[in-house]
């Protein structure tokens, strides 16, 4: 499998189909995997693929330093690929100027990451080619079980929970920077005319920030779980993203990054949208 992957990449570079491969590297067999950028055919042996390949590499596609390297080929798992679809819908990438190498994925992490247990995109669907195969079967659902459990708490209990979680947020913005869909040139939290969100890492500022972050991903978040993985304080941001993912699915029959043809739910509407809560 890994040989096949390296073959493909070598070919792409040799035939000058692409200028750079965005893939995974590893400094030691048992060490963690990390993103690497391969520009020469002789370097492709640095590429690895295993269950330590957490990172969603699509986040690099919107970065100027990486764009400057020329036409990229990118290695994506099924879940990462959903982000690719959203980036395409939002005209952040030109699919023609991008070579997508899908990897059939059994799941990452040992034990498996939460997202993998409910994964229903083990095989990339829109890749230019898919490498390897997996025996994993796509989950039928269960995406929102954790959320459902959480919502059994009373509103007051939820608020208390979040205050504890958010008290640890230092606003390092790792959640924002790893997110492939947080590609704004200037994040609203970095703006001060006016200051919409306090920059202070106080409960007030942290709550406002996480509300904005989650809401701006409404109908866009593909649950790749990177924000959760990146958070040094282990804050369970997934609950917020899942809330909106579930809302999108329940109210608008929409799942981000699944069907490129569907109109995104923000910036569109239906006359049938429910409104019993409106006075």
């Amino acid at each position: 499998m890994i040989e096949q992957l390296r073959q493909t990449c070598r070919r792409l570079l040799e035939e000058a189909k692409v200028n750079v491969i965005i893939g995974y590297g590893q400094s030691s067999a048992d060490g963690p995997a990390f993103p690497i950028f391969i520009t020469k055919p002789e370097q492709v042996d640095k590429l690895v693929w295993n269950d330590k390949c957490y990172a969603n590499l699509t986040t690099y596609l919107t970065r100027n330093d990486v764009k400057a390297l020329g036409k990229p080929a990118i290695i994506v798992k099924g879940c990462d690929e959903r982000a690719l679809v959203v980036l395409q819908q939002e005209s952040q990438i030109n699919r023609e100027a991008l070579y997508v190498i899908g990897v059939a994925c059994d799941g990452v992490g040992n034990p498996r990451a939460a997202k993998c247990l409910v994964c229903d995109v083990h095989r990339p669907r829109f890749a230019d080619e898919v490498v390897g195969d997996t025996a994993a079967t796509d989950a039928g659902g269960g995406r929102y079980l954790e959320l459902g459990e959480f919502l059994k708490k009373s509103p007051a209990e939820r608020m208390t929970y979040w205050m504890e979680e958010l008290s640890r947020c230092v606003k390092c913005y790792a959640c924002r920077e790893v997110c492939p869909l947080c590609y704004c040139n200037r994040c609203i939290v970095d703006k001060n005319r006016p200051t919409v969100i306090d920059t202070s890492a106080t409960l007030k500022g942290n709550l406002a920030w996480q509300i904005v972050r989650a809401f701006h991903l409404a109908g866009r978040c593909v649950s790749c779980g990177e924000c959760v993985r990146a958070c040094p304080a282990g804050i369970n941001l997934a609950l917020l993203n899942l809330t909106l993912a579930r809302a999108a699915e329940e109210h608008f029959q929409y799942r981000a990054g699944i069907d490129p043809q569907k109109t995104p739910i923000i910036g569109s509407y239906s006359l049938e949208d429910k409104e019993e809560f409106i006075l």
Binding site: D65, V66, P232
Partner: protein, 341 residues
């Protein structure tokens, strides 16, 4: 002979301390898999083993992420200001890693070289730091490379060395330390075995030389490619101490506050004109390393890094100082060999 204290007595010590109206902090498992330095509600929450390093650092307690400098109020057309005083409540940090404790000593310099930072100093005075020698280390630790180690005493008021059966040898290093443990320890015959730290992973002197002689190292662009530009490294670093100053409030009044900031953010150097002197992540990474290993040394004779490895541990893309230094060396060797070859 040595002074020894049991885990139980340590916990009681903390509880007694808190009951006197003081505050205490130390490693706590906030989630089964996440250990962080947190304010302690009781000694029982204190974690003393089965972690290498908390995901944050103790700087939070003497250089908080958010601090009011002064408050302001509009009185009609006029503005009234009130200076803010930092809390002087005695504070105990128990179970700090030596690499965290060392940082406070290093930061003394920058907070006192010309302007004496009242906020830092008062908190520092009010703080007693009891470190916990490192029984284990991981691939990210490189304290030994920067002249520290698992039992380094720099910045500590006392140090605890794990003995077997959950007891700790106590070595008091300052009056604060002595005062804290006075009458709390038993003299015992057993002494802690010397603790081993990570082998020397990178030659800092070579790094410094390299940093000095080529500022415009092309390596930076390549190294920084995978850096996402978040502040996880800086904010969990015991020695990073940059801050931003903003006003927050409404038409009635508000406060001028000091918030952590990071040189890894593009906004850090963004000019009002829109021009950014550090426009690429490579330049920003270079700044961070240059500052830690060259600039701070030149100015204060200390390296602004304690090798705690938090930057790598918390980096979403496995970068961090150590890996950056290693790739720097790798590039240096490669290019020199290229020159030779």
């Amino acid at each position: 002979m040595s002074e020894v204290i049991t885990r139980k007595n340590l916990q009681d010590l903390v509880n007694a301390w808190i009951s006197r109206g003081n505050t205490a902090a130390g490693p706590v498992f906030v989630k089964p898999d996440v250990c962080m330095y947190e304010k302690l509600s009781s000694g029982e929450r204190l974690a003393l083993d089965s972690f290498v390093h908390p995901t944050n650092s103790i700087k939070e307690f003497y250089f908080p992420r958010h601090e009011k400098i002064y408050t302001y109020r509009f009185k009609g057309q006029k503005l009234e200001l009130d200076d803010c005083e930092p809390a002087r409540t005695p504070q105990l940090i128990l179970g700090a890693r030596p690499c965290d404790a060392a940082a406070i000593a290093i930061l003394d310099r920058v907070f006192n070289w010309d302007y004496k930072d009242k906020f830092f100093n008062l908190r520092r005075e009010a703080t007693t730091i009891v470190t916990l020698g490192c029984a284990e280390y991981d691939d990210n630790c490189f304290c030994t490379s920067v002249g520290l180690g698992p039992t380094a005493e720099k910045g500590s008021d006392a140090i605890l060395l794990p003995l077997n059966d959950g007891e700790f040898e106590v070595r008091c290093l300052t009056d604060k330390g002595k005062a804290l443990f006075a009458g709390k320890t038993q003299t015992s015959s057993q002494e802690a075995k010397p603790l081993s730290g990570p082998e020397n992973r990178v030659d800092i002197e070579l790094i410094v030389a390299q940093l000095e002689k080529n500022f415009e190292d092309p390596a930076w662009r390549e190294i920084a490619l995978r850096c996402l530009g978040c502040g996880a490294c800086a904010y969990t670093c015991p020695t990073c101490h940059c801050f931003d100053i903003v006003d927050e409030g409404n038409a009635a009044g508000g406060a001028r506050v000091k918030n952590w900031d990071s040189c890894q953010f593009p906004m850090f150097t963004m000019h009002a004109s829109g021009h950014n002197p550090r426009s690429t992540q490579g330049q920003r990474q270079r700044q961070r390393i240059q500052h830690k290993f060259r600039i701070y040394r030149e100015k204060f004779g200390e390296t602004l890094c304690t090798g705690c490895g938090n930057c790598t541990r918390n980096c979403p893309v496995e970068l961090g100082v150590l890996n950056t230094l290693l790739s720097l060396r790798e590039h240096a060797l490669r290019s020199s060999s290229e020159v030779r070859g």
